[in-house]
């Protein structure tokens, strides 16, 4: 996840607190996202391969914490199950590695897993330090909610799950007109300066809301808004200083988990300002 270890750490911590056992895939490779631009067939093979690895663990539910991986694997699943010819080609490639595709495997993201499967009610029971008085903006990210025909984790035009989850942790999630704007991360591959200017523009809008921070749930968005915030500042020519945290980090705080276990010492944005808002 491109060095977004704080996300990985907080997902592991929060899920263990919820008594959900996570089994790591063995010999996992890329989901195929960057390969989509190069060779769509090969990308779908990689996406389908991830699903077979999940099947190998004996689990029927696959948790994909990244929006882009979630989208890529979802498109691969739909393609191999609906396009017979391409599906057969991919299945036979998988067989060469001794892998078998199972259409029963269900795909989840952190957001719909917590919201739909665990549920807000159960989640609230794990909160020991409600984040009272904290006001944040949410950024759910593009590829988790679009396009609806594919079956996505939330509504494409009015996503609410991340906000509801944030409020379950005791914070207030504000609405704002730039909510659906893209972080620009994909453009980093071809036009890095434009990518930073997109990310920076959104952060500028978030800053003007006067919130305590921005909540994200995708490592690519986190990379843009948190890790590259300094670079984005020079791209848009203004001081940003927006604390950016992953939802699982925020939830972990409300569950009373130690800061360092949630990887909050790894965020590059000024999260200390947000942390000072946590009730003692």
């Amino acid at each position: 996840m491109a060095g977004q270890y704080g996300y990985e750490m907080s997902v592991r911590e929060v899920f263990s607190k919820l008594d959900v056992e996570l089994v790591d895939l063995r010999e996992a490779v890329c989901c195929g996202d960057p390969v989509k631009s190069v060779n769509n067939f090969a990308a779908n093979y990689l996406g389908a391969r991830v699903l077979t690895l999940a099947h190998l663990t004996g689990a029927s539910d696959l948790l994909i914490p990244c929006n882009r991986c979630h989208f890529t694997v979802s498109e691969a699943k739909r393609l191999v199950e609906n396009d017979g010819k391409t599906g057969q080609k991919i299945f036979s490639l998988l067989k060469e590695e001794g892998l078998e595709y199972d259409p029963q495997t269900r795909i989840w993201h952190v957001i719909d897993f917590l919201h739909d499967l665990v549920g807000l009610k159960t989640l609230k029971k794990t909160i020991v330090k409600p984040l009272k008085g904290m006001k944040v903006a949410s950024h759910v990210g593009c590829q988790l909610i679009r396009y609806s025909d594919l079956g996505r984790a939330d509504n494409a035009e009015n996503p609410r799950k991340l906000d509801e989850l944030t409020e379950a942790a005791g914070a207030v999630s504000v609405d704002y007109s730039e909510k659906l704007d893209c972080c620009g991360s994909h453009l980093s591959l071809s036009h890095p300066d434009s990518a930073l200017s997109l990310g920076g523009t959104k952060l500028k809008a978030v800053k003007s809301l006067g919130v305590d921070g921005l909540v994200v749930s995708c490592p690519e968005c986190g990379l843009m808004f948190d890790s590259k915030q300094r670079d984005a500042e020079s791209a848009v020519g203004s001081k940003l200083d927006v604390p950016v945290v992953y939802y699982t980090q925020l939830l972990g705080l409300a569950m009373g988990i130690d800061l360092r276990k949630l990887g909050l010492h790894l965020n590059q944005s000024p999260v200390d300002r947000l942390l000072s808002k946590i009730p003692v």
Binding site: V29, D83, S194
Partner: protein
């Protein structure tokens, strides 16, 4: 682009790549362009790209930088009333550009060769925190990631040959 001729053979190639996407149904409602994240960066707008492909001007697009200026935000796919999906069209054009060995941004090819080599688009790296401490996965007590067997490389190479 005004003096070139349409190439229907290239158009058919794109249609095959699009599987069930109904490119020909575009009626130029401009919804895609209205919501496009990358609009400010584009010399040709999404609905114009749709039109050019429908008319068969593929070769010019496949060798142009325009197709590499999509943020993949998927708003055009979501909002297109005709399922013509400029995003999928742009991806098909990118694939064609790679096949033709046109100018492709280095980062994409680098990602593919990294996947071949180590299974991942990017290698695991150490990170430096805002207080200048350095950590790797081990120091953070994160599990080791197992490396794929050689058989993966062979199969992935085969997959890359498919068009």
């Amino acid at each position: 682009m005004s003096n070139t001729k349409p190439n229907l053979e290239s158009k058919n190639k794109i249609l095959t790549k699009l599987h069930d996407k109904q490119l020909v149904n575009c009626f130029q409602c401009i919804k895609c362009t209205s919501g496009c994240t990358a609009l400010k960066l584009l010399e040709l707008k999404p609905h114009e790209i749709e039109k050019l492909v429908n008319l068969g001007f593929i070769d010019e697009l496949a060798s142009s930088d325009i197709i590499w200026t999509c943020a993949t935000c998927l708003k055009c796919v979501q909002r297109c009333p005709q399922k013509a999906s400029p995003y999928h069209l742009v991806m098909a054009l990118r694939n064609l550009a790679v096949e033709r060995e046109a100018k492709v941004p280095e980062a994409f090819m680098k990602a593919v060769s990294q996947i071949l080599e180590i299974g991942l688009a990017e290698d695991y790296r150490k990170i430096t925190t805002r207080t200048m401490e350095t950590f790797d996965r081990e120091a953070l007590k994160l599990p080791k990631i197992s490396v794929p067997k050689e058989s993966f490389q062979t199969v992935f190479m085969k997959a890359l040959e498919e068009r």
